[in-house]
Symmetry: C2
């Protein structure tokens, strides 16, 4: 970017920082944007026998709802995304994956945050035991693929990364709908 | 939620607030979570003749990249989502829709924000002229559907709401891939 941009940190928290970016646009107007600086995250689509997925019902305090999601979590300092994907899968669902493959990545909400979500598909799963972190309330459910897609279309799945991840995986696996 | 939860506002900004939520879990542990309180947003999938979509190339300061996206934006105070969808479509792309239909909604990143994205499909479009807000740098492109899906799978589309919205719309329109 060819802008002379000023960044001021206005909140420095545990998970993220907030910065106010300011610059002058080509019309000479002073612009300010608030940005949440996030360490980035991983999302795992855990697949059983190619026809079911392991989902979690996650009590989310930010929205005060229990959401249907795929296991996910933020990167720890210096952690590689592949390792984070293995760790979050096992912590949140209790399953270990013999195969973990990256499918892609996306920004969750680039209008105000740089959070980058790396999407993995986990296969050849064996159960090892759930290990939740403090503050986590998570139930594990096995959902067949047809039912998971129906839950996207009827609105039961209300988590954007889960919608994107499910459809990215499914469209790669099968013929794309186009 | 049956928790005695305390919320402290630690940053009160223009677009969003940051709160620290704190409570004691069932094991007696003190938990703290930082949450970004967001006014909510809309996403529009603008469809031309059922076979192309109008996309934007949006210079995003939060990630310092130009991203391929669908038009979107936050709700103004007291604005209804349908009205916001009509407004953002016209401001960002210059197109007006005779039909605007809600497809669903999702949280963009419920681990740390309550931002709720309402997804609309816009049809019967006529060109009226782009009206960008200060600080916006947006180019409009018409992309045929097959190419848009290819851009999801090869990683050129890196915006999560656009991935979710495109696939939600496409799977509703055609047979779902399951």
């Amino acid at each position: 970017m060819n802008k002379a941009m000023h960044a001021e940190t206005v909140y420095d928290g545990h998970l993220f920082k907030v910065q106010v970016l300011s610059w002058t646009d080509e019309q000479g107007r002073a612009i300010r944007r608030e940005v949440v600086r996030h360490p980035g995250a991983v999302l795992v689509v855990p697949v059983l026998a190619g026809k079911s997925v392991i989902m979690i019902r996650n009590q989310r305090v930010a929205v005060d709802e229990q959401l249907w999601e795929f296991p996910a979590g933020k990167l720890e300092p210096n952690e590689q995304p592949h390792d984070a994907a293995m760790r979050e899968l096992e912590e949140e669902t209790g399953y270990r994956a013999a195969h973990m493959r990256k499918l892609g990545e996306f920004y969750t909400s680039p209008g105000f945050t740089n959070e980058l979500m790396r999407v993995f598909v986990a296969e050849e799963l064996t159960f090892a035991g759930q290990r939740l972190e403090a503050g986590e309330e998570i139930e594990v459910e096995i959902v067949d693929l047809e039912n998971a897609l129906a839950m996207v279309y009827d609105g039961r799945i209300r988590d954007g990364k889960t919608v994107a991840g499910l459809l990215m995986w499914q469209c790669q696996k099968e013929a794309c709908p186009a």
